[in-house]
Each structure stands twice: as C-alpha cells, then as structure tokens.
C-alpha cells in the first residue's frame, strides 16, 4: 500500500526536513509540494492525498483556514513553530501536531499514528474534547474569515462584514457588495467574533455595530435595525436590550 502525501510549507528548508525523515518510510509517496495556502488547497482538492503535512503560518491562507475550506476531510499532520495553534489543530481532528524543530523519533511517532489510522480506513481520530474546551475559555477573536465560492477562495477581513444571517445549517456572511455561505453555526460566530464590534440582535442575525444606520420601531415591543447598505433586520427583545446598552441609548 502506498500513502500519497502532500507537503505544504512556505519554507523550503522545512520541507527538506520532512522529506529527509520520510525517506525511511517506504509506503510514503510524495505527490506534491506547495508553498502557500491557496496552492496548497488547490493541490489537496486536485490530488486527493491520503496524508498532508501542513504548516500553519503561511501567506494568503493559513493552514487552519485551509482546513476549514476543505470539502472532504484529509488526514493532517501539523508542522509549525508556534504552539498557540495546537489546541485549534486538535479541534480540527488533526492526527498530530509537530513543533519545529522536531526529532526523527517524534516525527516517526506521528507518522506511525498516521499510517495506522489510514491503514484502518478510519475517517479521522477522535477529537480531543478537553483541549477544545480550553480554547473556548480563551477565545481569540477572528480577524478574517476564509470563504469559497465555486471556483474561488477569498479571505474576508472582519471589518468588511456588515452582518451575518442564519441560513439552515450554514451562516450567510453579508459584506457591502457580496454574500458568502460559510459552513459554521451562529453560535460559533457569536463566540469567536469580538463582542464589542458584533452583536447578536436576533436568533438569525449578528450585526457589525459599525454598519448600523438607525434603529426603528417595528411593531409592539419589536424593533428593526437598519444597516447602512440597506438591509432591515429584526431585533429580538433581548437583542434590542443588548444593542441599547452597547450604543448607550
């Protein structure tokens, strides 16, 4: 059996180390190397590898953003210098997380785990619940969101988002001149967007305070929030209360 493998890292020396360590494993076949998130994502989608070595800090698209955009989950081993992402990586069900620089033994350990998982045909390792919990306690707010339309991947800065709207199991991100569907929950965005800039005014809406034009009386005990680009969104009683507090009305 051969394991088709892709390396994604913007530093050539870092890829060299992985290639050198991989020489000892005959079942590994390297089918592609990429040096940024965009081409890496395209590579994964076209080549459909069994295993991906993924750096986190990369130009265009980080390793974590890349993972969010993948249609079919791949087996990932993260390889990065900084451990502030480790928790997040496990949340995404990565096989392992290698901290640069790593030893051959440590690398072998991760790879054997990968070979076992891929060999057993298991979809992905069990998520590490405890680590995920720690992340929720120390949320780092999003500053951009990677989205994907049919052919294109784009990265939206958080300050361009006018409001978010619940759309079944997805969330629609509305910017001034476009909309993007993102496979996440409202609850996720509520937790990961800076609450001093984004307010959940309704079960279905989170608004960017910056883009609020005015607030109107709607019907009994209900208010509507008018956004600068024209949208008129209903606010729930609780949502209106939070909004009022936030805007010091």
């Amino acid at each position: 059996m051969s394991i088709r493998t892709i390396l994604i890292d913007d530093e050539q020396p870092a890829r060299e180390v992985i290639k050198y360590y991989l020489k000892d494993f005959e079942e590994i076949e390297i089918i592609g190397e990429f040096s940024d998130g965009f081409t890496g994502l395209k590579g994964i989608q076209e080549l459909k590898p069994d295993l991906v070595f993924l750096d986190v800090q990369m130009p265009k698209l980080t390793g974590l953003e890349l993972l969010e955009l993948l249609d079919q989950p791949a087996q990932i081993i993260f390889s990065t210098a900084y451990d502030q992402y480790a928790i997040k990586a496990f949340e995404m069900n990565a096989i392992d997380y290698l901290l640069k620089p790593y030893s051959k033994d440590r690398f072998a350990q991760a790879l054997l785990k990968a070979i076992a998982i891929i060999g057993s045909g298991q979809n992905s390792p069990a998520p590490v619940q405890k680590l995920v919990k720690t992340l929720d306690e120390n949320p780092e707010y999003l500053h951009r969101i990677a989205v994907k339309s049919r052919h294109k991947v784009s990265v939206i800065p958080i300050e361009d988002i006018v409001y978010l709207e619940a759309e079944g199991d997805y969330v629609m991100l509305h910017t001034k001149d476009s909309r993007h569907l993102k496979e996440k929950t409202m609850k996720y965005f509520e937790a990961h967007l800076d609450p001093s800039r984004f307010i959940r005014i309704h079960r279905s809406y989170i608004v960017n305070v910056q883009f609020i034009d005015r607030i109107e009386y709607y019907d009994k005990e209900n208010y509507a929030v008018l956004m600068k680009q024209g949208a008129k969104l209903r606010a729930s009683t609780t949502g209106y209360k939070i909004l009022k507090q936030m805007l010091n009305m």
Binding site: E11, P13, A14, K100, I158
Partner: protein
C-alpha cells in the same frame, strides 16, 4: 524630621539672631519713645522675648504632630487653640509676675504692665501664628522635595523597565523557525548550518548583551540587522531581498538607541515576506539633515493580505521609546505608496540634543 532650628549652626544663629533683633526693636521703642529707664527697658524686652523665643522652639513639636489633613483638621485647630491659650497664660502670667516683682516700684511701669494685657494677648497670638506658619511652610517644603525626589526616581525606574521590556521582544516564532532551518541544513549543507548557528548566536548575543537605554553606532545596529535578514533569507530563499545604502562618512558612526531598528525589519518580514508569495525587497537608506539622522526603510507587501493587519504594537513601541529618549513624538512616520510600505525615522544627533536642552 529634624527640628528646623537645630539643623546646623547657621539655622541656630538665624533663629536667635531674629529674636535678638526683635528684642532690639522692643528695647528701642520702650527706651526712645516711652522714655523708660534703661534697666526697666532691658528687663521688659529680655523677659518677654526670651520667654517667647523658648516657647517658639517647643512649638515645633506641636506643629510637627498636628499636620492637618482632611480628616483631622478640627483636631489640629483644637491642639493649636489649647497650646496658644496655655502659652499666653504662662507667658503673660510669668512675665508680669517677674517684672512686677523686680520693677514694681516704678508706678508708671507697674500700671502699664497690667493695662497692656490685651495688647500682649494680641502680640503673643501674632508671634504664635507667624512661628507656626513658618514651621508648616518648612514641613511642606521638605515633603515636597521628598516627593519630587521619589517621583523622579520612579520615572527613571519606569523608563528602565519599559526599555528592557521593549527590547526583549525577540520573536519566538522566528527563533524556532530558524532552529528548524538549521536542522534542515545539517542534512543538506552542514557547513551552511554551522554558519547559520554562528549568525544566530551573534544575533542573540547582540540582542541580550546591550543594556537598556544604551546607544550604539548605526553601523553596529545595521550589521546585526544584516545577520537577522541573512537568517531569514535561509528560510525564505529568493523570496526575500534586501539592500542597504549607507554613506559611510555621514551615517555609519551615528549613535542610535540599541535595537531600535530591529522591530522595523521584523515588521517588514512579518507583513511583507510572511504574507506574500511574490518576491519582497527591503531597502534602507540614510542621510544626515539639519542635525537629524534620517532613515528610510521601504518594503514591498501584498495589499490583498491586509486582512492580517498587525496591532501596530511594534511601531507604537518604537514611538514610545523615541518619546522617552528624545522627548519628541514626531520622530517616526509611516506611509504607503502602492505596494510599498515606507517608514521614515529621524534620530536627533548627540549635539542636536544638547542644543535643544540648552535652549
């Protein structure tokens, strides 16, 4: 706090000298205006003033332990009224008794002694108030000086810590990635790996060895930055290019704060090289103009990567450091021209600083 009269010989002689002067005035008034006999005049002046002179010394302890604040103002007033009353009773009682016993046979003087009790109450109160005020002024001044001393020391300490903090921001991300590159080079090119270990060591040594607030020549600082960029170039290869235009005679020897430029180049790497897939050039040139060393650092960046904006912490730190060192917050300017980010830095030369301080 020491008794202000007994700080040194001078303060003692000033205090008693002043009382001698008061005695002299007192004597002259009684002798030349009221035309009393000389022995009565001397006696009256001596007994009254000497007595108050001694009370004046002891008053220090009342004042010292009755320093008013918001809470005890009425306590202080009570203390003073009580001590003043006591002083007046004892002073007037004793002086009249003594003087009457000695000079009572002079009828005019004897009558005067009794008739001028209200005057004495008035004069005594004035003496008391003036002495108390002088003491309070003294306490206030000593406290003020103490406060100024403490505050300036505090500022100094603050400055020191701040500088240490600003300086010790060697990016762990950089360090671990560089170590990983070295690990890689040991496989492909051991000689280059050794060279990089040495560069990294030199870079780290430079970063930690210089004391906070110290200065170094621009040449030194630049050669350290070169080391840094060469290390990064091993990681990023052709993606990173850099060039320095330094006119040796004009710029190289200039003194600048240690590690001032480092964060600027780190920024250029972080926002330029980390975020771009294209080639990134980092250029620096310098000139000397009107007592200022003008440094210009330019780097390419990918405008589409603007979403990953930094917090501006690095630039703010530099601005803060320049403000502390040169008392000027207009020394750092940044601008964007197309896909190029430009930092302009003016560093006052040593003579220029002195000139500024004199004027």
């Amino acid at each position: 706090m020491q008794h202000p009269v007994f700080i040194n010989k001078r303060s003692v002689s000033v205090y008693f000298g002043l009382w001698a002067l008061i005695m002299g005035v007192h004597f002259s008034v009684f002798y030349f205006i009221y035309l009393f006999p000389i022995e009565i005049t001397i006696g009256d002046s001596l007994v009254n003033n000497l007595f108050f002179c001694i009370i004046g010394i002891s008053m220090w302890f009342v004042v010292r332990y009755s320093v008013p604040d918001k809470k005890n103002i009425w306590n202080v007033v009570f203390n003073h009224v009580a001590f003043l009353t006591l002083t007046l009773v004892v002073w007037i009682g004793l002086s009249i008794t003594i003087l009457n016993a000695v000079f009572g046979n002079n009828k005019v003087y004897g009558e005067l002694l009794l008739n001028t009790i209200p005057n004495k109450i008035f004069t005594g109160s004035i003496y008391y108030v003036v002495i108390a005020l002088i003491y309070y002024l003294y306490i206030y001044q000593v406290n003020l000086q103490e406060k100024i001393k403490v505050e300036s020391r505090l500022r100094e300490v603050l400055k020191e810590t701040e500088l240490t903090m600003l300086k010790s921001q060697i990016n762990p991300h950089f360090l671990f990635n560089s170590l990983n590159s070295i690990s890689s080079l040991t496989i492909t090119d051991p000689a280059k790996a050794r060279e990089m270990v040495i560069k990294l060591s030199d870079f780290l040594r430079y970063s930690v060895s210089k004391g906070a607030g110290t200065f170094t020549s621009l040449e030194n600082e630049i050669s350290n930055i070169r080391r840094y960029l060469e290390i990064e170039k091993v990681r990023f290869g052709d993606k990173l290019n850099f060039s320095f235009q330094l006119e040796k005679e004009v710029c190289a020897g200039h003194q600048i704060p240690v590690m001032l430029l480092q964060p600027l180049f780190e920024n250029a790497i972080k926002h330029g090289v980390y975020e771009s897939t294209e080639q990134v050039n980092i250029e620096m040139d310098c000139e000397y103009k009107d007592g200022f060393l003008e440094l210009k650092i330019v780097n390419d960046f990918d405008p589409e990567a603007r979403a990953r904006k930094g917090t501006g912490l690095g630039l703010n730190n530099i601005r803060e450091r320049l403000r502390l060192l040169y008392k000027n917050d207009q020394l750092l300017k940044t601008s964007v021209e197309g896909t190029r980010f430009i930092v302009l830095l003016s560093i006052p030369s040593a003579d220029n600083i002195e000139k500024n301080h004199k004027t």
